[in-house]
């Protein structure tokens, strides 16, 4: 009980001390909060995107098979479907037709695709909000395409995807197979790639090996490899941002060091007075500890809360482009809140612990001196 009362008294004194030097402490908290805000925004953003990628790919086929020519992706003969289907453990194989369509008026690349089921006539298309937003030449529900051999093709928009699905449908145009082949120039008997579903996922690597042996020009890509690529992409981008910010972080620590270690004559005298009226060295260090914790914890909490709001309510407006990468068409969507406790804990220990140490250590020498000497020097 006595210990609790002691700590309460020290915390009271610490708060009073912080308030007495409010401009110095306010500027420290502001800068510290900004640093935490930026770093935790990057953590939240990258984490949320990785989670979104996982969610999007959750229903994706376990394996995609592409054909490689000259080290580059080429069209795959639909005859490969039977070969892959014949491998034990393969549940189903679907030849996929998809590609990109460059529209000069908007300068954007759109994804064109033939879904498994397309319940409309050949002249119809379904498209995403981002397509409508950027196409520029949609008249009524008519949309003009230029085919691979230079002809103009007019198609009718029969469905626009909901805005909530923008993350995956913003640039998407679904169409029938004949129209796709006319626009893209993919000949009959060929597909873009094969979507392979596997009964037992544990056998995926074995099946991939067999596909490579049966078709040496085929490249199987596992779903986990796609996920890993997305994760690496966002880790690389967020790491790049943090490297760019490292200068600011370093400047902050130099600033904090200067503020925390610079004992003014007034502060030295105060320590001498406290020792003179019966405070121990440990008591002096304790109030400095509470001071360091108070500032760093306040800044950490404020910074994390602000970054949470910034990323999950304001869509990381401040630097979303740096993390999303360059594009003409950015999907509008709200990220689902994802909190990586481990990364936040690391951030906590990398910010709160060093600052608290930086506050306490310089006081050590002064607090161990005889109060008489400290007061005379003050």
């Amino acid at each position: 009980m006595k210990w609790i009362e002691r700590q309460r008294a020290f915390m009271d004194y610490t708060l009073s001390s912080l308030w007495r030097r409010k401009s110095k402490n306010a500027s420290l908290i502001l800068v510290y909060t900004l640093v935490v805000f930026v770093i935790s925004s990057v953590i939240f953003f990258a984490g949320a995107f990785k989670k979104e990628a996982e969610a999007v790919l959750a229903d994706a086929p376990e394996m995609i098979v592409q054909r490689m020519v000259g080290g580059r992706h080429d069209l795959i003969p639909t005859g490969y479907v039977a070969k892959v289907k014949g491998i034990r453990g393969v549940q189903s194989v679907t030849a996929r037709l998809w590609g990109y369509y460059y529209h000069p008026a908007s300068g954007s690349n759109y994804t064109i695709m033939v879904p498994e089921n397309f319940p409309h006539a050949d002249h119809a298309v379904e498209l995403g909000h981002g397509v409508l937003r950027t196409w520029g030449t949609v008249q009524g529900n008519q949309i003009y395409f230029r085919t691979h051999d230079g002809e103009t093709l007019v198609l009718s928009v029969v469905k626009v995807f909901e805005a909530a699905t923008d993350l995956v449908t913003a640039d998407l145009i679904l169409m029938s197979e004949p129209v796709f082949r006319k626009i893209s120039g993919v000949a009959e008997g060929f597909a873009t790639d094969l979507a392979v579903r596997i009964r037992n996922e544990q056998e995926r690597r074995t099946i991939a090996e067999k596909i490579t042996q049966a078709m040496p020009d085929a490249r199987p890509i596992l779903r986990e490899e796609i996920l890993r690529t997305y994760a690496s992409l966002f880790d690389w981008r967020s790491g790049y941002m943090l490297v760019l910010l490292s200068g600011a972080v370093l400047a902050f620590f130099i600033f904090a060091w200067d503020k925390a270690t610079g004992l003014s004559a007034e502060e030295r005298t105060e320590i001498g007075i406290l020792k003179g009226v019966g405070w121990d060295t440990a008591d002096i260090l304790m109030i400095k500890f509470w001071e360091g914790i108070g500032i760093s914890l306040t800044s950490f909490v404020l910074g994390v809360l602000a970054s949470y709001a910034h990323v999950f309510f304001a869509s990381a407006t401040l630097f979303e482009h740096a993390l999303k990468g360059w594009a003409v068409l950015y999907p509008a969507f709200t990220l689902r809140p994802v909190v990586d406790a481990f990364q936040l804990a690391v951030l906590f220990f990398l910010t709160v612990a060093p600052y608290t140490l930086v506050t306490v250590l310089p006081i050590w020498k002064v607090s161990t001196m005889d109060p008489d000497i400290v007061m005379r020097q003050g």
Binding site: M1, R8, A9, F10, D12, I273, D280, A282, D370, D372
Partner: protein, 220 residues
């Protein structure tokens, strides 16, 4: 006190001996005044008696227990519980209130906040400064600040009160008021040690003993 010597910057070219072989017995429950010119070692002696600094050599015994060889932690505990110090320039902490300044010595003791606060208010009321409890100390006059310093010195119920040049910034009326307070504190059974070269203090009838110091030594 047995052969107390204090040398500052010992072993260096700027070495200065403030106290030389002080042998002294101080009676409890008495008012003892240390008199001497500036630089005679009064403040240094009081600082060593009050466990605020250590002598270069010699020993001090308090109620039969040696205090000079105590570790810093125990010396601090003795200082907090036994001695109440009234500094020459009061050394109140600016920016905080009269009440907070009075309560500060009691914080490490771990007593309940409410009890310490009540005790502090009682002391301030007794010293007729209770009405200014919530004012910042820098807004007070010299005499008022000194009374705050006295209240702070008494908050832990010390048996020894040490006052270093308590009348340095006071006029005659305030000095007489201070002497009344000191007499009251003595009536409570406390021992009072004062360093002063003010005749109003060392010639006062309430003083039991005067010790003359010159050049760091006791002058008989």
């Amino acid at each position: 006190m047995a052969k107390i010597t204090k040398t500052f910057n010992a072993g260096k070219t700027k070495a200065f001996t403030a106290l030389r072989d002080i042998d002294l017995q101080i009676d409890m429950n008495r008012i003892t005044v240390f008199v001497g010119p500036s630089g005679s070692g009064k403040t240094t002696l009081l600082s060593i008696i009050g466990c605020m600094s250590r002598p270069t050599s010699g020993r001090i015994f308090l109620n039969g227990r040696e205090t000079t060889s105590l570790t810093q932690r125990f010396a601090t505990e003795v200082r907090r519980n036994t001695f109440g110090f009234i500094f020459q320039s009061y050394n109140l902490i600016r920016g905080i209130t009269v009440l907070e300044n009075t309560m500060i010595p009691a914080y490490p003791g771990g007593s309940k906040h409410g009890i310490v606060k009540r005790k502090a208010m009682d002391l301030l009321d007794r010293l007729k400064i209770g009405s200014k409890a919530h004012q910042k100390v820098e807004s007070l006059s010299g005499g008022e600040q000194q009374r705050v310093a006295i209240a702070r010195a008494l908050i832990n119920g010390p048996s020894v009160v040490i006052a270093d040049e308590p009348t340095a910034h006071l006029d005659t009326d305030l000095v007489m008021a201070l002497l009344d307070i000191i007499a009251e504190i003595k009536e409570e059974g406390k021992t009072i040690l004062i360093a002063s070269h003010d005749p109003l203090i060392f010639q006062s009838s309430i003083v039991d003993r005067v010790v003359n110091l010159r050049d760091g030594a006791v002058v008989e």
